[in-house]
């Protein structure tokens, strides 16, 4: 199958290579913290403080169709339901359920009906996915049931097996060690969305994963496609461009074009949920960086980063922690925050001095690597001066924040930070503008109403006056007629 190129992107070698990819079972955490708000979906806790919960038990259920259920990933007692620090650029606090482990890892009864999933209807399967807490495990965390339920006339299902960032190897490990489950999971997804074909995309530096999946793939509809290893090819729209030569319109979604993208780990989670009746309570996390021996760990959701880092025995130097990836990740200082469904990697790096930021010399290296063909050097100018209108003209909102520009900038300017700041500012201004617009409309309507009332009243008065006049005139004429009649009578009398 042909591969199509997209603009820019960068080839970055894995800075922390390993000889053999593994998945190590991380020890049970003593405590887990589960955020109630996940990726836009709100949930309502259905346990209270002091309750004993089992692993796999639902502790919060979604409010509305967007959210997914949240499950206890260990057995133990609910310690608290309060605000805790979670992964966020500004380390914001949000409402969380904290559970203390009893160390027994007792599970809920999982039904084991061995019914072929083909017997289930699409609706039942989608509901199962929602109730099993499955979201996109690649990084964005978009709820899978929403994505798969929204699509109409789906023709292609793309399974993203490209590692989203250099250095991350959790998907690679999953493909090597669970190929059968992944293929089955893909078949379930295929059954739900009814696509004509499935393309599993794997980067060409992951030969072992490719071999493993190929060995278990006996489905004619599923093809496994190797694509060149280049950073940002894991981004949904760019992957679609690389595989199908289709450009998803700016502001549009892949599902509008009948294409669904799912991560390889999501397919595995779907398999676990539908076949094993096991909700999403753990994920594979890559721990890497020059401060540790890189490896993958299967860890329970809600365990703290500290718990995971303590397992890998980092060296004795001072470290910088970065969650997510070297390009798009978030630097964190507090490693007591919990691992979430989208935590694909933790970078533990020895502390180094950040290079001094210099002036932009408009060299244009950034626009050369920009996968969406922006002009970061121009955009920076407007974002820096908070000139949102011009920044929008330079397509600020199309920036996917992949940080390729940051990576190549000889002046070490944190371009993406400027852009995300400008986006936030734009949002705020739009919000403000909307409020102003609404207020103005209200005011104008009030003015209009007052004016209208005044006019109506005036009209009413004139009408009233008119009718009164007419009435009076009528009465007058009647009186006159009576008078005339009286006169005639009088005259008649007089004549007699």
């Amino acid at each position: 199958m042909a591969n199509y190129l997209f603009n820019g992107g960068i080839v970055i070698n894995n800075l922390y290579p390993v000889n053999k990819v593994e998945i190590i079972q991380a020890s049970l955490p003593t405590k887990i913290v589960l955020p109630l708000q996940q990726f836009g979906g709100q949930t309502k806790p259905c346990v209270s403080v002091g309750d004993y919960v089992l692993a796999g038990q639902v502790v919060a259920s979604p409010k509305g169709g967007f959210g997914v259920s949240i499950h206890a990933s260990i057995s133990g007692v609910v310690l608290s339901i309060d605000k805790q620090t979670t992964v966020h650029q500004s380390e914001l606090k949000s409402e969380c359920i904290t559970i203390e482990s009893d160390g027994k890892d007792k599970w809920i009864d999982r039904k084991n009906d061995h019914v072929d999933f083909l017997h289930y209807s699409t609706e039942v399967l989608i509901e199962t996915i929602q109730k099993s807490g499955i979201v996109g495990l690649g990084g964005a965390g978009f709820p899978t049931h929403v994505k798969i339920g929204k699509v109409v006339d789906c023709h292609t299902l793309i399974i993203n097996g490209t590692e989203c960032e250099p250095g991350v190897m959790c998907d690679d490990a999953l493909m090597q060690f669970h190929p059968r489950e992944i293929i089955r999971g893909v078949e379930i997804l295929l059954h739900i969305c009814g696509a004509k074909r499935v393309i599993i995309a794997i980067e060409d530096d992951k030969q072992a994963a490719y071999q493993a999946l190929s060995m278990f793939n006996h489905n004619d509809k599923i093809s496994i496609n190797q694509i060149p290893t280049k950073y940002t090819s894991g981004a949904e729209k760019l992957l679609i461009k690389a595989l199908l030569d289709v450009e998803i319109p700016s502001g549009g979604f892949a599902v509008d074009k009948g294409i669904i993208c799912q991560n390889i780990a999501t397919a595995k989670a779907v398999f676990d949920a539908v076949i094993n009746h096991r909700p999403l309570v753990s994920r594979i996390v890559t721990v890497t960086g020059d401060g540790v021996k890189p490896n993958n760990f299967e860890v329970r959701l809600g365990a703290s980063f500290k718990h995971l880092v303590s397992i890998v025995s980092p060296n004795n130097q001072a470290h910088n922690y970065r969650i997510g990836g070297m390009m798009m990740g978030v630097d964190v200082t507090d490693i007591n925050i919990p691992i979430s469904k989208t935590t694909s990697a933790i970078f533990v790096n020895n502390q180094v001095l950040k290079p001094v930021v210099q002036e932009c010399i408009r060299c244009g290296q950034c626009s050369e690597v920009c996968p969406v063909r922006l002009l970061p050097q121009q955009l920076y100018w407007h974002a820096k001066s908070e000139n949102i209108k011009d920044a929008l003209n330079y397509n600020l909102l199309d920036c996917i924040e992949c940080a390729c520009c940051d990576y190549v900038c000889p002046s070490h300017i944190p371009l993406v930070s400027y852009f995300s700041f400008a986006k936030a500012l734009n949002k705020q201004q739009t919000h403000e503008q909307n409020r102003i617009n609404i207020a103005r409309e209200r005011f104008e309507f009030r003015e209009y109403r007052l004016e209208r009332n005044k006019l109506e009243r005036a009209q009413m008065m004139t009408d009233k006056k008119k009718t009164l006049k007419e009435k009076m005139a009528k009465e007058q004429s009647q009186k006159q007629k009576i008078a005339e009649a009286m006169q005639r009578v009088q005259q008649a009398k007089d004549k007699k």
Partner: protein
């Protein structure tokens, strides 16, 4: 944390300076120590003036000086002027370039004009005599010091440049074909800068669009003129190998700060510089036109940039 492994500004500036070596060696071979003396004077002036101004502006002097941009400006200006020009010419020129061309606009990255060319044009207009007298022979270090610092009254055989010659002798000669426009020194210097420019392309410090479009602009417009009247106009070969053509194409027009920054914009910008150079050389009052052409096109950069935005993914 993202570790930048690509480059830094000082790395880029160093690459440009390395790339100038061949051309400078060629100039040294023909003109001797004066060339190196001018560069030394220019670099010292640049460092002193830039440091003073950075200090006055309350900036970090060391980190800004070490980006190498002031040194590069000084070198570019020093190799553009006659190597026997008195010492104060380069000092005044570099000072003007750094102060009025760069620092007053806010320093590196904020200057709309190419500082070296601004300094050059300033010198050309203010001191036309000193700026148009080139020597013919190789000068030893002692001779060069004598001439540049005016220590003793030695005579250097000097002449105008070949482009000057072409312009001024045309009225006597009748046809440009009768003039001897053969100039090995200029050809070799241009060849040196061409090779250096190819090195910059190879290192991806500059993009191909500006030099290619620049040279295309010169070739196309000079062919049109030459075909129109072979007696009156310089041949394309002369345009390419004389004056500051190669230095301009690979080192001057490609200054990222003052050049257009979009891929299409770079082509328009480079091409029009090439065309303007031929027009100025042919019809203008000055023998060479690289500096004027670059400065004129610098002015149009904001306009070019705003009209040549690439098509964004999905739009």
């Amino acid at each position: 944390m993202i570790t930048p492994i690509f480059s830094s500004i000082s790395w880029m500036m160093r690459q440009v300076i390395y790339a100038l070596v061949l051309g400078v060696m060629a100039a040294y071979y023909f003109f001797g120590w004066g060339v190196l003396l001018q560069i030394a004077l220019g670099v010292i002036t640049a460092i002193v003036v830039e440091s003073v101004f950075l200090a006055l502006r309350g900036r970090d002097v060391i980190s800004s000086i070490s980006d190498g941009s002031a040194v590069l400006t000084a070198i570019l200006l020093a190799i553009s002027i006659p190597s026997i020009a008195p010492w104060w010419v380069i000092v005044v020129g570099v000072s003007f370039a750094i102060i009025f061309g760069k620092q007053l606009y806010g320093g590196l990255g904020n200057n709309p004009f190419n500082p070296a060319m601004l300094g050059y044009v300033f010198l050309l207009i203010s001191y036309p005599l000193q700026m148009s007298t080139w020597q013919v022979d190789f000068l030893s270090l002692g001779q060069a010091l004598d001439v540049v610092f005016d220590l003793s009254n030695i005579d250097v055989i000097s002449s105008a440049t070949t482009l000057d010659e072409a312009k001024n002798s045309l009225s006597f000669a009748g046809s440009i074909q009768q003039l001897d426009l053969h100039s090995p020194s200029q050809a070799w210097i241009n060849a040196g800068f061409l090779l250096g420019g190819l090195y910059l392309l190879f290192k991806k410090v500059i993009f191909w669009q500006i030099p290619v479009a620049f040279l295309a602009g010169i070739v196309i417009s000079s062919i049109l003129l030459f075909v129109g009247n072979t007696d009156l106009y310089l041949s394309t070969q002369n345009h390419l190998m004389l004056g500051g053509t190669m230095l301009g194409a690979f080192f001057i027009a490609t200054d990222p700060v003052s050049a257009s920054t979009t891929p299409k914009g770079r082509i328009i910008y480079g091409f029009l510089i090439g065309v303007l150079i031929v027009i100025i050389r042919t019809f203008g009052g000055y023998p060479d036109g690289v500096a004027f052409a670059v400065l004129l096109m610098n002015m149009t950069v904001p306009l070019i940039d705003s009209f040549t935005q690439p098509k964004v993914f999905g739009q």
